[in-house]
């Protein structure tokens, strides 16, 4: 079976970049007018030439999203299990060289966090760890999933990339989705931002969605970290990756995130800044390119931004997030992976979603359907 890397290796960052920047008004107008948009249209929509068409893009993005997803926004919470990490990543608060106290939740602490998350109303959770393969590897994941599964309707994971056989073991334990962001598709810069640890292996990470697809996961999350490199080029690669995966693993759902680099103690300043206006352009461009993909917005973004953007293409949001292990109940004061911007309680977010004319969806899966 093929892998995305075969397509990736035929691409060239520089030529993609110049082709995006060469897009004209005509290209954008064509992309807006057509109903079946391809990767060239996507390029036009993320290009600087599309900036004057933002309102039109927003109108169409909202229309397509409403038609497909209805007046619904799904709510989920990240559930940090550990901040131990053997990787050095220049932009991350958990980086090995960052002197913070390390913590991995034990079963009793996991119980405490489960209770707190359930009290907040969450049914969909995202398990997060750093990469510490000895202490937080497969045995830990298996144990944690078994403990957590009975309490929630939908479990996703954002941990180190694993082998296909590992995913095949975790899926029957209730693992429904895996998010694995490439961070950047710029191979040379990737190396610069990940100088040490298993994560420095660019291709192993790039092949992860293929391994997940082959393992038969229900949903795969893609994205690039905005701020490391030119977001337009990285987003094009994300779109290309999505296009390939959808055609190859056609039984799998896909979700995209667009995390903008956030400050943390001792962290990296974004190399390429992205304005709010540009993020809206990107969200709408993804929607115009693909009506079915889920688009997820985290609490990295500000209250005001989230309020407005939820109507323009977003389908799921985190709320009241804690990005430190034990953050909800066990050790609320410990150091976070990154600073969040929207600190409101999930119940407040639900109110806000209602005010915008949407239904906050807490449950859209049932673990009991996973029996087979």
């Amino acid at each position: 079976m093929s892998n995305f890397r075969e397509i990736f290796d035929q691409q060239d960052w520089g030529s993609i970049k110049s082709s995006i920047y060469a897009k004209t008004k005509r290209d954008v107008e064509h992309a807006l007018a057509t109903s079946e948009r391809n990767l060239e249209d996507f390029k036009a929509l993320i290009s600087p030439a599309a900036a004057p068409y933002l309102e039109q893009m927003a109108v169409e993005s909202r229309r397509l999203t409403l038609q497909r997803f209805g007046n619904n926004i799904q709510l989920f919470a990240p559930f940090y299990l550990s901040n131990e990490c053997q990787n050095i990543c220049t932009y991350c608060g958990f980086s090995l060289d960052n002197k913070i106290r390390r913590k991995t939740l034990n079963p009793k602490e996991i119980d405490g966090e489960i209770a707190a998350l359930k009290k907040l109303g969450f049914q969909h959770i995202l398990l997060v760890t750093g990469e510490a393969n000895v202490t937080v590897g497969m045995p830990y994941f298996k144990k944690a999933l078994k403990q957590i599964r009975p309490h929630f309707a939908d479990i996703s994971m954002e941990v180190q990339p694993l082998d296909q056989a590992d995913y095949e073991e975790l899926i029957p334990l209730g693992l429904n989705a895996v998010l694995v962001y490439q961070e950047t598709y710029h191979q040379k810069d990737y190396k610069k931002h990940h100088p040490k640890g298993k994560k420095s292996n660019f291709y192993y990470r790039l092949d992860t969605p293929d391994r997940l697809g082959k393992a038969g996961i229900r949903k795969i999350g893609l994205g690039s970290l905005i701020g490391l490199e030119d977001w337009r080029v990285d987003s094009f690669y994300t779109g290309l990756h999505l296009d390939y995966l959808e055609k190859t693993y056609w039984q799998t759902k896909y979700t995209i995130s667009f995390p903008r680099l956030r400050p943390f103690s001792g962290g990296l300043e974004p190399k390429v800044a992205m304005s709010d206006r540009e993020l809206v352009q990107l969200i709408c461009a993804y929607r115009l390119f693909n009506q079915e993909v889920e688009l997820s917005l985290s609490t990295r973004e500000t209250e005001l931004f989230r309020e407005h953007v939820m109507k323009l293409g977003i389908t799921s949001m985190s709320a009241g997030s804690k990005t430190n292990p034990g953050g909800y109940a066990v050790e609320p004061q410990s150091l976070e992976q990154f600073e969040i911007s929207d600190e409101r309680l999930p119940s407040e977010i639900e109110e806000l979603i209602k005010k915008q004319g949407y239904e906050a969806v807490w449950k859209d899966w049932d673990m009991s359907l996973e029996k087979y």
């Binding site: 007046n71 619904n72 056609w250 039984q251 209602k354 239904e359 859209d364 049932d366 359907l369 087979y372």
Partner: protein
């Protein structure tokens, strides 16, 4: 009156519960639609705890629940989901939705046939969501289905009756009720489906995401009634051109 399984229906408009902006709007729309059969995705319902908000908003004398298996990918999962629904919602009715393709939600005919066979044996009233495939409909009949639910166009697309030629064949051949299930975007689509002889239609997205779901529900109710009435009164045949005043054979009478 329409009969499916052990129930009779005055309303031929079936509805769904997805995509509404809030439960109150859903409830008001479904009540004004006059619908007596409302489908609800099992995955959205809290099966563990009593008082699920969707179910409690459907608590109405007229409304019968039609749990659907949306999200399952094969017959095994579907049969399991139907059994869960039977236990949790106390109904033998199930709308069988097996779409392994999450992009266009295209129904899998092979797994659907397998699941129908098994569920019918287990005593379920099965309403399978399928392509507008006349042969599959006959096979489902033999497997013990209680109705067939062919699509008009892809689910949620609001594109109307793109499959009309095949729907007409299905309606002509079917011994079980035919419910046109997906893609109905406007009341005129619903009226058209009823005019060609569908026994009922199922409408969700077109009501739920309209600017005024309550009014839209009423519009669909009226369209379905009007289409059915036209079908029963028999539409006058259409002619491609006006009939000639001096027919070619008039010489025979001379």
């Amino acid at each position: 009156m329409l009969e499916i399984g052990n129930k009779t229906f005055e309303s031929r408009l079936f509805t769904g519960t997805g995509k509404f902006k809030d439960m109150a709007t859903m409830q008001a729309s479904l009540e004004s639609s006059g619908s007596e059969l409302v489908t609800v995705a099992l995955k959205r319902v809290d099966l563990k705890e009593a008082g699920d908000p969707i179910i409690s908003h459907l608590n109405h004398d007229r409304i019968n629940l039609l749990p659907n298996t949306s999200g399952v990918r094969n017959a095994k999962e579907a049969v399991f989901a139907a059994q869960l629904a039977r236990e949790a919602l106390e109904t033998d009715w199930v709308k069988l939705e097996i779409h392994p393709d999450p992009k266009y939600l295209m129904p899998d005919p092979i797994e659907t046939l397998k699941a129908t066979e098994e569920l019918a044996k287990l005593g379920f009233i099965v309403l399978p969501y399928i392509h507008a495939d006349p042969v599959l409909c006959k096979l489902l009949e033999e497997a013990g289905t209680s109705a067939v639910m062919p699509l008009g166009s892809p689910i949620g697309s609001n594109k109307g009756l793109k499959t009309i030629d095949f729907l007409e064949i299905i309606i002509e051949q079917s011994k079980v009720p035919v419910v046109v299930d997906a893609g109905i975007g406007a009341p005129s689509d619903a009226a058209k489906a009823m005019e060609i002889g569908a026994d009922a239609v199922l409408v969700n997205t077109a009501i739920a995401v309209s600017n005024n779901p309550v009014e839209m529900a009423i519009a669909f109710k009226m369209a379905v009634e009007s289409g059915r009435m036209a079908y029963e009164a028999e539409l006058a045949p259409t002619a491609a051109h006006a009939e000639a005043s001096s027919p070619l054979t008039s010489f025979l009478d001379e």
